[in-house]
Symmetry: C2
Subunit: 168 residues, 2 copies
């Protein structure tokens, strides 16, 4: 009874999803890939995982068909990671997590991390899974993302800390 | 760099959410509470966690303000667990996980786990986060859930296995 339910052990789609992504690191890695952050070193900086942790999670996500590894340099070999169709289909989960996090894990003085403009209506999409301006369900391809100034600063500090060989 | 980002370390709402629920057991426990399964023994059967694991996750969810513990019997003291407002606000994340799981982790011969009727329009809500029949975003209070026959059987087997002291 100690093992986590295997994917084939249960019909429950939530349990099966969790068997693939039920890991905080995996979700943070997916978040980064959705932001277009595709290379090992920058994934390392922004996820704050150890190299071993990041490496094992990337392998697992690849084995589960969530991401693909592609060469961007051959000598020496260097890879970047891309979301597959299955990986991209995870976006609504991140949007729902974002809404819950922005609503329940922020003090009034804190800014949002990312602002989305809903390209369909041209207005601020808000923090929900449907557009606060036009009411349509939000789809990734209709969103333009922009970091808030404080979140941009936080990310820059993490990048610099890794460059200088320190923890952020 | 090995520690998971603390809630106060980052503005990212996804990272903060994961700090609370980024654990497969926690998500399975929340799934059960949403189904109205509120007592330790039946949570144990359906989550397939060990008693120690379940107990620690329930304490953590309580400390994080996701659930409340209430007496349902005083001699001997017995408790049941209820979702708080913050816990109930997690429902859209489960719906999104369900959609992704039903879409990407099922073979064609497998049934859905739960069928939802959208009370607003009276029709089958489908497996998405908006109603497949009327297109409205799905809210928990507008959904009537029913286990598919195979999932009902799976749950009954788990309940019986725990009753008989065996792992399901």
């Amino acid at each position: 009874m100690t093992a986590l339910p295997d994917k084939s052990d249960t019909l429950c789609p939530v349990a099966r999803s969790q068997a693939v992504i039920g890991d905080r690191w995996a979700v943070l890695i997916l978040r980064e890939l959705f932001m277009g952050n595709r290379r090992f070193d920058s994934l390392l900086a922004q996820s704050q995982a150890t190299p071993q942790m990041l490496s094992s999670r990337l392998k697992r996500l690849e084995a589960d068909g969530m991401i693909e590894r592609k060469h961007y340099m051959t000598k020496p070999p260097r890879y970047e990671y891309e979301l597959t169709e299955k990986g991209r289909a995870f976006h609504p989960v991140l949007l729902a997590l974002r809404e819950w996090g922005e609503t329940w894990h922020k003090s009034p003085h804190e800014d949002v991390a990312v602002r989305y403009t809903h390209l369909t209506c041209g207005k601020d999409a808000g923090i929900g899974t449907v557009c606060q301006s036009c009411g349509e369900p939000l789809r990734r391809e209709d969103l333009k993302a922009e970091f808030s100034p404080s979140y941009a600063q936080e990310r820059a500090a993490r990048r610099d800390a890794v460059k200088n060989g320190k923890s952020a």
